[in-house]
Amino acid sequence: MKSRFTGILTLFLAFMIQFSFAQEKTITGTVTSADDGLPLPGASVMVEGTTKGTQTDLDGKYSITANQGENLVFSFLGMANQVITVGASNVVDVLLAPETEMIDPIVVVAYGQQTKSSITGSIKEVKAEEIQKVTTGNVLQGLVGKVAGVQVVNNNGMPGDAPVIRFRGIGSINASSSPLYVVDGIPFNGDIASINNNDIESMTFLKDASAAALYGNRGANGVIIVTTKKGLQQKSAITIDTRSGFSSRAVKDYDKITDPAKYYEGYFNILKNGYMFGPTGLSNSAAAVEASNNLITGPQGLGYNIYNVPNDQLIDPVTGTINPNAQILFQEDWEDFLFGSGLFTQTNISVRGGDKNTQHFFSVGYDKNEGYVVNSGLEKMSGRLNIDSKISETFQIGGVMSYTHLEQNYLDGYTGGTSYSGPFRWTRYTAPIYPVHVYDQNTGEQLFNSVGNPIYDDGQGLYNGGVVRPAGAGPLQNPYATAMMDIKRWRTDNLFSSANASVNLLDGLKFKYTVTGELFNQHDTSMDTPLIGDAVGVNGRIQIQSSRMIAFTNQQLLTYNKSFGAHNINVLLGHETLDRRSDFVSAHRTNMLLPDTDILNHAGVLRDNSAGGSNYALEGYFSRFGYDYGNKYYINANVRRDGSSRFHPDNRWGTFYGLGAAWRVSQEDFMSNVSWVNELKLKASYGEQGNDNLGLALPYMDLYSVEMTTDAEAPLIVNQVFKGNKDITWETNVNFNAGFEASLFDGRLNVEAEYFKREVKDMLFMKPLPLSSGFSQLPENVGDMENIGYEVAVDGDVIRNKDLRVNLYANFTKFENKITKLPESPLDDNAIISGSRILREGGTYYDYYMREFAGVNPANGAALFWKDIEDADGNVTGRELTENWSDGTRYIIDKKAYADIYGGFGVGVEYKGIDFAAHFAYQLGGWGYDSGYFGYFGGEAGSGLHNDIVNTWTPENTTANLPRVEVNDPNLYYSTSTMGLIKSDYLSLQTLSLGYTFSKEISRSVGLEKLRFYALADNVALWSKRQGYDPRLSLTGGTDNKYSLIRTVSFGVNVQF
């Protein structure tokens, strides 16, 4: 950002007058920007120590008289000055590189802006240039690994879906750990996906109390401030940016068996194990014969034989391998049908300009991303108008208005789950012997219906002579057919409209009033086709839901800035209210007249309807006081008092504060000789912030639901569904932050390092109640937790010269999470056990609690688990091994689910007009439970197998490290135990970009100010501990059958005129 300060500096230099007398000559030349190779009009050229000076013309050309030996000083706003001594040549061309150190950038902070040097807290800004490279529908999806201390976890690859964001560890156990979003100064209630990436000027991440406490009410989990582009005082410039490409699946699925022969062989062994070790107890050879005979038609048979040999001759019971004469009759790969490349395109047009009094920014955008799954994707249309206008010397008005329309086609199961109708579960776990379409089982010929169309196979045997798919292959379902025929769509309208007026009351005293209205409408249509799948029984199902959120924010800010000599103060007083209301109405009917409509009125049977919503109101008073002395010592204090509708009137108000101090050591006299230190700042802050979000509108009241019946005779029926607690109030986050910022070696090396201690106190906690009380939990302010860690961000220009600049950067965050206090419980360390996880004092937010796998018994392939030995009094005296999972003892496992180290790194290269960037992200130190992988070992007929099936124990493979697999997993060997834990470490190549910007001469020759071509790719590569295991999709490294991340490769052009 170009700032006034450099201008002042330039003027200052201009007045450093000295006289000298020597031989004058006329020097000419061109001043060009090293940034983009364009000439710089209006650059200042001064003869050092004189008043002689000129400016470059529109083409960057200048002419000046100077003596040989004199120094010419070239300067331009935002660029580093260059000094060149006049030599023999009369031509001096100069390349000015962007200012890296001298200017003090302005950073957007809570309710205002500050110079970067005056910030006492922890702030990271991501600028438009970075954001422009993001191709995802939700800008945050593209910021993985970009900001130290901020973890971005993409839930799934569905275009536009919101990721999970965590600042510096885990903020709370039951209450929200999500940050607050602020858009153009207004706490934001809508969907970030509604903001066009190209409209974003900057995103500021506020990580500590000094920075965020001003949003005290909701700043406890960090604040992300999105600032959109504003008009500029310049001739209107039109920018067009358009890119197109393809989306595809970024990460390969598990290494599952895709070869039907290998599948039949694998399942043969599973059956055989069943006959050997199950009720029948056959010998190895007898079991093999039995398994071979029952492979297709037995009670646990596969149903489908896609080879041309008889069912009982498919597998040779002696060798356990497929009949060498067997030829495949028919086979189809579901992935070929369901997954592929989707079209991606993104176009933005913006106009930015203005005059002295009024500046405008206008943009329209269009995005389309089809994803990689049929009939899914995102379409987004957006428009924005930002205006600022000075009515008089004392009165200004401004406004922001944006509208976005989003259409998302989604699919069953895109967020995960075990439903057979979801394409992600289906392609993962359906054996490669079941085709998409119906084939004659004997001849292998495809079957067609009366009008000649292929018939989709729903596994019920309706067309192929009664051959049905077993349970593991989801009879009734055909996810390809339903993906094509179902209609599942969200249509969303986002309107953000904000107007402000400000008055300069006195010198330095300013009042600003902002009114903002946000409207968020979403209409969800879900039609399940009556033709195939699980809605056949009701002849089709249509569900609609319309929801509407409207939020009004009123904000009054009074600011005062004054300098007295070296003393600078700034004061802010403010008041803010939010009134938000959400309503929804939904309806569900079945029995459709037309098979391909999503109109509710076209269906005949009412199933359900409902309407309701939620209300939320907040009010806050706040103040900030900033003081600095000589741009050396800074103090920043703020306080805020908030009331929330979520709490009882007696417990509604909370007070929060932040204090920060900074010392710019580099400004001290004793540092003036240390030339390699350009900037060194030490800083520390402390404060408290609040959290009122337990995910409940009214946690302080008992709630009763009124249930719908269709029985006119039945009385109104009511059920108490929630037990509230009048005493519930704000959760408090206590934040301590200390660190330094340094810029060294002429700005070529920048280091920021911070230590943080985040303590959450009196957590908004769902305290366990004895379940026998009728309710399992009660909201209470109880429990403390802390996150202690540090983060480091380094960047440096390893090469910086006229033609080439190579920049490397990296960030690193490490934290430890510890629960320090929990509600009193009868268990040791006040533990709360919940399934395979345990919360306890001294433990972490996510400790595993499960059976401990101790290997495989080579004699029989049984899994071994540890079991405590107890004496008569129930005291544990030792432990022993058991082959019975049910008898195994559950232990606290010394492996935590969250990764305690995460970050990113990358490289940027600029060479003449070419630019290249690569960005990586990583995490280390966590363990995930890979249930996705273990889903391959359940032994269910028809369910897919992993290639690791060869590493499971069989009588022929007794040294295997995985236990025996049997039909139905009767022994529970693959039930939850430490066997399923896997390191969630990963390294991913998140983005690659390559661009070329034509020189000004060339672009001007075609009538353009700027012309740039580029290529972008995201989600390029992933290195994790197991193929198919993508630890990026969950904070805790867990797995699910969800929409895998997408890779988008696109080519674009950016023109400006």
Binding site: L573, E619, S772
Partner: protein, 483 residues
């Protein structure tokens, strides 16, 4: 000019104050549910509607009995659908029912449902204690000295439901005299209240209910009336081995319906209008839980987990073989080579003629005949034979009056009880009551591999562990049931 500025500063300062909102701004009420505040306002402003609210809560409890996710867990558990899920789940832990593949409900068949961390033990525990909470919250609003018959009848039904809930719980969780926590409208004891005290509470609730219900005529079989309460008392006294009272109450309850015969027995047990039904639930398009429902899990001919995904719920071969070929009830189970193409022994007792709107049965007249016959076999064998005959002759036209006596008579009654009530939630409790071993490993067994084991009578495996969520917060329970 200076004055103007001062004025404007004042103006702004006052504006800042003025815009601060009244406290009302932050008072918001519930928009989906009804809040305590609203109920309090209702009671204060329209006291006559207060009783109606109690009635609404009572009706809500009947709805809850067959709702999806009675556990309150935020998981898509398709075997969590209230009373019938418990009934059938427990049957899967008996000798008489097998499950063909390890799918939903398989956790009962392989006995993992009873482990402390299982969501199934959580579901059962919570399901009945939530009903107890619901009933106590109504009972606590009823004055000790209330005389209005409508209120007394409401009180009777609440006491009876509470007694029913405790009766279910104590038979699942009671371990010797180590009982379960006891909550009434007036007292709370979080410890393992002795089993005998729980039984005393059940008796007191049910007998009080039986008296207070006098004069009540119900509008729907979902409600408890004097016959249902008598039926619950007969179950209770049978468990208590107080046979005369068990016979007396069964005799009263069996007039709550009339026996059907012949093809009427093949109606699929899906219609609450069936004259044999005394207590049940009317499932409609609004209350159906679709795939997470009894007929989805059990109905071999319905497109659910059993009929479609092939997780069939079958009769034990020994029991099947013991059914007389002339007995209509043999047709409740598929023979080999049946027309539906389902496995032998799969049940067709439960068939839903609709798309998962089949009704649920909680109590039938036939059970009362069996209760009475069993009770009488201890003190009136002739009477027992006659009651048994009255029932079985409607099932098997070639049945003749039994000539058995002593244990043989008891065994005959037990056999008919196992056949008649197959899949209705009695087999597990009966095995515990009769001290029968679990034997699945026998020659020709049709039990499946994932539950192919035996447990002797009295094994701790027949007692569920208390869910860990209880232990997380209950300081009074120091002893868990064995793993």
């Amino acid at each position: 000019m200076k004055k103007m500025k001062k004025t404007s500063i004042l103006g702004i300062a006052s504006a800042l104050l003025l815009v601060s909102c009244s406290e009302d701004f932050l008072n918001k009420d519930a928009m989906n549910e009804v809040s305590t505040n609203q109920i309090a306002d209702l009671n204060a402003n329209y006291p006559e509607l207060g009783l109606a609210f109690s009635g609404n809560l009572e009706a809500g409890n009947y709805f809850y009995m067959n709702d999806f996710l009675v556990s309150g867990l935020n998981q898509n558990l398709h075997d969590d659908f209230g009373q019938k899920a418990v009934d059938f789940g427990l049957d899967l832990m008996s000798n008489d029912v097998t499950q063909s593949t390890n799918h939903w409900m398989g956790n009962y068949y392989n006995f993992t449902a009873r482990q402390t961390n299982s969501v199934r033990t959580y579901m059962i525990w919570r399901f009945y204690y939530k009903q107890i909470y619901n009933m106590n919250s109504i009972l606590s609003t009823i004055d000790e000295g209330a005389t209005d018959p409508g209120i007394l009848q409401l009180k009777a039904r609440c006491l009876a439901v509470r007694g029913f809930a405790y009766f279910q719980l104590i038979r699942v969780y009671g371990n010797g005299d180590l009982g379960i926590p006891l909550y009434t409208e007036t007292t709370t004891d979080l410890s393992r209240v002795p089993t005998s005290d729980i039984y005393a509470q059940i008796e007191s609730d049910l007998t009080a209910a039986h008296t207070l219900i006098d004069g009540y005529t119900r509008t729907s079989k979902a409600y408890l009336d004097n016959k249902v309460i008598a039926g619950l008392l007969s179950r209770y006294y049978l468990e208590m081995e107080n046979y005369p009272l068990a016979a007396q109450y069964a005799n009263e309850a069996k007039t709550g319906g009339t026996l059907v015969s012949g093809n009427q027995l093949l109606d699929g047990f899906d219609e609450i209008t069936n004259p044999e039904w005394i207590w049940g639930a009317d499932i409609t398009s609004a209350t159906t839980t679709v795939y997470a429902s009894f007929f989805s899990q059990v109905g071999s001919l319905n497109e659910g987990y059993a009929g479609l995904l092939g997780s069939f719920k079958n009769i034990d071969r020994r029991l099947y073989d013991a059914i007389s070929p002339t007995d209509v009830r043999k047709q409740w189970f598929a023979p080999a080579g049946n027309p539906w193409g389902i496995p032998q022994y799969a049940n067709v007792k439960f068939v839903d003629a609709t798309f998962f709107e089949g009704d649920y049965v909680y109590m039938r007249t036939a059970e009362m005949y069996l209760n009475e016959a069993e009770a009488r076999s201890y003190f009136d064998e002739a009477g027992a034979r006659q009651v048994l005959y009255d029932l079985v002759i409607t099932r098997d036209p070639s049945y003749t009056l039994s000539t058995n006596s002593g244990q043989a008579l008891k065994d005959e009654i037990r056999l008919h009880r196992r056949i008649e009530l197959w899949g209705e939630g009695f087999a597990f409790f009966d095995m515990k009551r009769w001290g029968v071993d679990l034997v699945r490993d026998y020659p020709g067994s049709n039990h499946t591999d994932f539950g192919y084991f035996d447990y002797p009578a009295g094994s701790p495996k027949f007692i569920f562990q208390i869910p860990e969520s209880e232990l997380n917060a209950n300081f009074e329970i120091t002893e868990q049931n064995p793993l």
